[in-house]
Symmetry: C2
């Protein structure tokens, strides 16, 4: 994705500067899914100001070992927040516009009540007696905090990894409180493999003799076990590729007597990560939090569609290509379910090498996408973009670009639902939304184009057309549009039939290969024509499945051969200039054809 | 791959039955890479008989925790060998034909000298004082054993995982002793990620207080640490998918007091694997062997090409699609290097869901491939296959199938080297080998076709044409052949230019789209023609980049626009029946065109 592609007006850029954490104390009983606490405290930070309507709050949820220090700096330690590059004045999550909140989650060990806290009833640390934790508990406590802060509704809830699961739980739990959600590098449930990795980590803690069933003291902590758990988990946060680039097979320079002979740098790095971690984290907390992750399951017996059915937020799910912990496929499952049940959802995939940790890194494409999404939630006002309306124009290339879109948008009725396969930058769907209140979903493989859709507030599924169709339920759209797309598809007949399962009406537009100029040129010269429609010569072309009006109609005229019959509805032909209509001998005289197929 | 596709004559099928291990004692000093042993013993098994020439031996090398018990059964324990489905009378590695040997490797703990053995000098177990082990040491000891067994040369050395690395080391170390090698699910060097996983396992052993710097006793072994190492490693042996299928998120049925509440079955399974492992394996051995794996590096400073330059064996490298430990890409690296330096090598990729462990499983496609390769090493005698010669025939479809191949095979001279891109079942390359002693390499994406090449003894790289070209060095072939393949390529001009880097001569054959019947049909009906060349109607077609003689010549005639100029050499046109030659107005009259491009 080229981040210069879609520009967002920048508000004044700057840094948040010095920050310090605050504490919220809840002195009443708090009932958890598997137990209760007689009271609790939550440590949090905020940046920016709540507006008068109290509707501009953005909640950020942190990952497994993260904390509330998202942005700004702790002056004494010179420690910047973990997402400081994303949050601040003029940044992706703009604190000039939004009131940004992040709290250390319930059950963690960086200032919120968790296993290391003193149980007021016993006067001793909770340790393993801390109730079994769930993502739902974390979210419920965050809601208490937001109520305390007088937030009326969340403009957005944002989180990566465990934070993404919290964001997901938020929109399920408080559907009317949340306007939008960004679910990043997450999953609706842990796979067996992820549970397995966590269990290895937990076992290494529990088999550490110092663990002592969780009753360890600060001078005899199960540091070896916790370090091993972290070392292993750390591998799953990185991609094979980035480890190869960072470390390869480099050896440590020996000499230092602490360094084992012929140690690989990657080994030394992992040991360092393990050591660093035990300084700042607690073993029982690690056990409780990883179990909460394993337990999280929005699929369950009812299935994801059923569990998500009440959500109302606009959702963007983001996966990273190299993430093998919460894979793109696992992220897609969330978006696919939302799309299957006709929610307001997009899926985007960011090309990034760094594995699961990509979401923490300073990727311009990703930050830009966050900004576009936050702007696109309610309006497009602040976004500079290409002319978004279908206008009458004399520019030949724009006429050609939009000729079929004009016809198709005339066919679509008010309030209908439209699936645009090969949606490009979302021009048709934006136009239909603005003129006919159409609910739409675009599908495009290209990440730049998908990002342009997000900037228009158009829902998009970045991925393969066939996959997108296969994930959608019967009759989930009124229209399925193929705007000059069928030429690129293998066995397009099957795909069109599948589109007629998903939508009752299908619009297909294509360049009529049977147009007389093509025929004349080919019969005279025995070579392809080159013009502003067929731009490339043979050596620079991609394979295409060109078709003519005659061929398309012959496909449509064989309903007895098709398992799912349909009838031809309206058809419109344009002449070679793609402007004036063409009424007779279209296969010879028309340059562009637009068909409506109807399943009765 | 459809295993019925290429049939191999079966010799009498049966089971090996009862076997028992034998012991080879080497009473002299053995010098290792990093130390020496005053004597050693190796436990091994053999199946089948050595022939009179002593040339039918197949050595099987086991993986990290495997042993010498490959096939047959230990009657007392009713324990079958770990590859019993692959080795036996009439099986993939046919003990009616081959004398099969497998030994427990040096440094292991199942009967060969290793850390658990008594050091004759001290009278105590070696433990961590056992010299640092290398794959090369293992191979050197296997050679001693083969000499002892009076094996004159190895017909084949076969191994998966660590066994694959041994097979690789074999062909490097003893180039004249080994006729062929199957390197399966292996790697030429551990990636940083793999080293990292191993280091976590080693750390969990070393941090176990019972490890005691390796000086543990049999009643106080570091079982917790070893079990954790195994649990983690076990995850890397399986794919995410197969774990999901096997376990999903199933919970254990509680009640059993040993079972933790709400334990997932995958957790319980891992614990069981850990427990089972400590019964049969030794912690110091695990440390030494994993270090030997990490240390193995055939890339090193010189690079893989240089390190493999003296090998003489015919090699088949096999990767499994779902293997994320030694990925298909890591396996391809081996084959690509061998092909770059013009060795006799193939790469095949087996579609299998079970991750790294796929190579141990009973996959018919894989077993069939092993059989085909072993048969194809020296001859094709025992293989039933399609007619392999290009013959004069009156069958219209065979004429069409082979028309261009006849021309191209006439152009190729004796002893030349030919790269056939889109080689299909290897008919051209087999024919050229038999008639002109041509050394060839085929490239095809299709696994069935690649297996057919193996059965013909034709080297094949299963994969993408562009990727195959990019891996090959300048001038590594005399000819690069595109037999009716360019139509399927995107931007074919670039690909042809790259082919002219790899070979000085390029043969391109294609169906002339400018043929008069196509023109006539198209100009009259405005639709594609359908005949035995263009078989599909639009709705069932795949995108194609059709071209005509005129278009091809216009590409060739613009050398000034091309960075790498070439000239047109010979050209042959066939008429519409693809039989008689066509001398004039070929773009109108020829159905098939075959060109020679030459870089001077």
């Amino acid at each position: 994705m080229n981040s210069s592609e879609v520009k967002v007006k920048q508000s004044k850029k700057g840094e948040i500067g010095k920050v310090s954490p605050k504490i919220f104390e809840h002195k009443d009983k708090f009932v958890m899914t598997h137990g209760e606490l007689s009271s609790l405290q939550i440590t949090y930070e905020t940046y920016g100001n709540l507006n008068k309507e109290r509707t501009n709050a953005v909640l950020i949820c942190h990952a497994l070992t993260g904390d509330h220090h998202v942005a700004g700096i702790y002056e004494e330690e010179q420690r910047k927040g973990w997402w400081d590059h994303a949050v601040g004045p003029g940044k992706a999550i703009d604190t000039n516009e939004f009131f940004v909140i992040c709290s250390n989650c319930l059950g963690a060990c960086q200032g919120s009540t968790g296993p290391t806290s003193i149980n007021p009833i016993t006067g001793k640390p909770y340790g393993m007696s801390f109730p079994d934790l769930t993502i739902k508990d974390m979210v419920s406590v965050q809601k208490l905090l937001l109520d305390h802060l007088k937030v009326k509704s969340l403009y957005s809830v944002v989180g990566g990894s465990m934070g993404g699961m919290q964001a997901l739980q938020w929109i399920v739990e408080f559907p009317n409180f949340v306007e939008s959600a960004m679910i990043i590098a997450a999953t609706p449930q842990h796979s067996a493999q992820t549970i397995a990795f966590n269990e290895v980590g937990r076992t290494s803690i529990k088999r550490d003799p110092n663990w002592n069933n969780g009753e360890y003291t600060s001078d005899r902590r199960p540091e070896a076990g916790l370090a091993i758990a972290r070392m292993m988990a750390h591998i799953t946060y990185l991609s094979d590729k980035v480890m190869a680039e960072k470390f390869g097979r480099e050896l440590m320079i020996s000499g230092d007597e602490k360094t084992e002979k012929n140690q690989f740098t990657v080994e030394s790095y992992l040991h360092y990560q393990g050591l660093k971690f035990v300084d700042r984290f607690d073993a029982n907390t690690y056990l409780k939090l990883t179990k909460a992750l394993d337990r999280f399951d929005l699929v369950g017996e009812k299935g994801l569609d059923e569990n998500l059915k009440n959500i109302r937020a606009k959702v963007m799910v983001v996966g990273f290509t190299s993430d093998w912990l919460y894979t793109p496929a696992q992220n897609r499952i969330i978006a696919e379910s939302l799309q299957r049940i006709s929610k307001n959802a997009s899926y985007l995939e960011i090309e990034h090498d760094h594995g699961h940790d990509s979401f923490l890194l300073n990727s311009q494409d990703f930050l830009h996408l966050i900004k576009l999404f936050l702007k696109g939630v309610n309006s497009n006002e602040n976004i500079e973009q290409e002319p978004k309306k279908l206008k009458h124009t004399n520019n030949r290339s724009i006429v050609k670009k939009e000729a079929d879109l004009k016809v198709i948008s005339d066919w679509v009725k008010k309030d209908e639902k439209v699936l645009d396969l090969g949606c490009g930058r979302g021009i048709l769907l934006e136009h239909l939304r603005e003129t006919k209140n159409v609910k739409g979903l675009g599908v495009d493989f290209d990440s730049q184009k998908a990002a342009a859709c997000i900037s228009r507030g158009v829902n998009v599924y970045q991925g393969d057309i066939r996959k997108a169709l296969s994930m959608l339920s019967d009759n989930s759209f009124d229209w399925v549009v193929f705007s000059r797309m069928v030429e690129e598809l293998p066995e397009p007949g099957q795909i069109i039939l599948d589109a007629l399962r998903v939508g009752r009406k299908v619009a297909v537009s294509f360049v009529n290969h049977g147009y007389w100029r093509n025929r004349l040129h080919f019969s005279k010269y025995g070579s392809r024509i080159k013009n502003d429609v067929y731009r490339e010569n043979w050596q620079s072309s991609h394979p295409r499945n060109h078709l003519s009006i005659k061929e398309f109609e012959s496909f449509c005229a064989a309903p007895n051969k098709l398992k799912k019959p349909f009838r031809l509805g309206r058809k419109v032909f344009h002449r070679g200039n793609w402007r004036s209509e063409c009424k007779w001998i279209p296969n010879l005289r028309a340059g562009l054809a637009i068909y409506e197929l109807v399943r009765d």
